[in-house]
Amino acid sequence: MRAVDAIMECLKAEGVEVVFGLPGGANLPTYDAFVDSEIKHILVRHEAGGGHAAEGYAKATGKVGVAFGTSGPGATNLVTPIVDAMMDSVPVVFMTGQIRSDLLGTDGFQEADTIGITMPGVKHSFMVTDANDIPRTIHEAFYIARSGRPGPVVVDIPVDISRADIDYEPVMEVSLPGYQPNVEGNAKQIRQAAKALAAAKRPVLYVGGGVVLGDASEELRALAASDRFPVTSTLMGLGSFPSEGPQWLGMLGMHGTRAANYSMDQADLICAIGARFDDRITGKLDEFAPHAKFIHIDVDPAEISKNVPAHIPIVGDVKSILPHLTSEYRALGADSTRLDDWLAKIESWKKEFPLTYTDTDDNEIRPQYMVEAVYEATGGNAIVCSDVGQHQMWTAQYYHFPEPRRWINSGGLGTMGFGLPAAMGAKIGCPDQDVVLIAGDGSIQMNMQELAACSQEGIDVKVLIMNNGCLGMVRQWQELFWEKRYSHVDMGDYPDFVKLAEAYGATGVRLTDKSTLVDDLRSAIATPGPVVVDVRVTEEENVYPMISPGMPARDMVG
């Protein structure tokens, strides 16, 4: 069998439905195999678009995303999605073409050291040097990408290797002596954690993206329901707990709610579940949660005590640990009234410091209102993607995610340009759900070209541009921390997004009227095919509240 046909067989065996990519010289053999393969291929317009589309697909479905690129620039264009997938633990297999083996190291045409360039940003990578290794390598790549703490895996195949013929036999098992990702949580530690929860008078469950990745939302809800534990979530964990009710504190961190951040500041026990104490969460590390002891549950042992020392570490899969913890806690029969004062305190913070913004009587659209309008127009049920910046934070604050995998954004790396391709990938993975992208006018321009792929393939994404004419988050920081010395944040009135949408074969709409915004959004979302909505919002509006960088949470401003 041709090695490239074996690649298709392996992808099929791994359950791959779709590949996002762009052909070039060094992966021509692989692309020939697509001609007769059942696997769907989406031709993106830039490899970075393909990489982020694979991420969006993976984040929406929980399956492994796949992106292809050629050697040299094809591979270097994938570097941003690769690192993005690493930072947010997204399971994606990146397959890159490489120049002929005999030319390696000679600075041949379109040669780049793909393995070397991507090494610091991958979970693992493979350079195939023998065509017979292709099937085993591909299965190992998928296994590594999806198991344990998920992440990106690169498979680099020189073009002469992919042109070879091999004796293909399906591979059922992988052999990775140094890789044992599946750890059972230690039963003694879990019991200890249950006792700590029972002893705590001011507990908080602090949940992160690991709960989404581990499909443990139900298990988290059961733990929270075993008593009246207050729950807060990172940006990446939103949706794993319903964004309403007395136990919900809102998002925590730099642009989190005061209730969430004050609760962390005052807590006596914090149970971190699939979260990693990022600097956007802790603020000033020395003054983070000064009264708290920490339970830390994570599948990656290296996260335990990396930033904040854990008192009760539990390494393992959240989906199996949480039910165990819940039943241990229930067995203790803890007196729930011990939490009365704490919950009353939290309720008072929530009442005193709700998320709020100043609306005006004119017809100008406040960006926060735009998110509320999108929530209303979608019934709160859409898969919402975002780019990176102010619009991302406002979406996190004002779109109340009821379920996991409905909120798709770039957290760790903060990649502008992530949104449109990610929305494409999400729509292909979840064709029956509405997929809307809330983008910034800056971010959208970084992968705008994928509108062509959306139009060509009929990928029904609704692009809602929160257009304030500037790089809003940078403008905000220059206003607050650089004495309003605005430097290169004004984007002017360019481009004309409506005309651009039409040029790409999509529908373009411009909205400027607050009074009709919900209805206008509703009809734009109901319009078949890709739609770009240019929503003009207030330029000088800041995301609040805010923990200033390097400050403790209790000193929130705004």
């Binding site: 393995i115 070397g116 090494m119 610091p120 979970k123 693992h124 350079m127 040097t129 590594i144 990775l176 002596p177 140094g178 890789y179 039963a187 003694k188 019991r191 200890q192 006792k195 700590a196 029972a198 002893a199 705590a200 006596d268 026990l269 002891k293 920490f294 990656d300 042992p301 290296a302 335990i304 005590s305 990396k306 020392p309 854990a310 008192h311 009760i312 570490p313 203790l332």
Partner: protein, 187 residues
């Protein structure tokens, strides 16, 4: 307070909980790491140290009795870096099979060094006597130079270096430490 058997109603006070990891040991650590013998593995290990801001003091790589496996022995300053974070990050590398943090009392560490000294006449006898004390060997002699070979702990080689300096040390080569567990157990 900790109840190893569990299952009882013994309660726990949060005040009794202590975080025990993430501390700096304050001493040198010798890590003996078994890795798959594949291209790029050393780069992955070295790159991890760079990326995480850890510093490698010495590094030695060699084969094992299994062709598919190599051994990397490296030393890290436990005063500068939390050693558990170093080993946990190393464990995440798929090609890393096993890591052992060798305790000084339970292991033997050796380094090999070559010293080139310019000496002639009466001082040559003196420097060769020092070499004898350190159980070194003369491996090359010319009219105005001698090369010594010494093996031993890092401390011994450093001491020998100090002794030779006044004689006109031209250059010195050190391999970095390798180490092995004492007793019957495999490293």
């Amino acid at each position: 307070m900790m109840n190893a058997e569990g299952g009882t109603s013994e309660t726990l006070s949060l005040d009794d909980l202590h975080a025990s990891v993430g501390v700096r040991s304050g001493r040198k650590h010798v890590l003996s790491i078994l890795v798959e013998n594949k291209p790029g593995v050393l780069t992955r290990v070295a790159g991890l140290f760079t990326r995480r801001g850890f510093n490698i003091d010495t590094l030695a790589v060699g084969p094992t009795d299994d062709d598919a496996i190599s051994r990397i022995t490296l030393t890290v300053d436990g005063a500068l870096h939390p050693i558990d974070q170093v080993t946990k990050q190393l464990h995440k590398l798929v090609n890393v099979i096993k890591i052992r943090d060798l305790e000084p009392g339970d292991s033997l560490a050796r380094e090999l060094a070559l010293f080139k000294v310019t000496v002639d006449g009466p001082r040559r006898a003196e420097v060769m006597q020092i070499c004898d004390i350190f159980r070194g060997k003369v491996v090359d002699v010319s009219k105005d130079s001698v090369i010594f070979e010494v093996t031993g702990t890092t401390e011994k080689i450093t001491a020998f270096d100090e002794m030779l300096k006044p004689f006109g040390l031209v250059e010195m080569m050190r391999t970095g430490e390798i180490a092995i567990a004492r007793g019957r157990d495999e490293t």
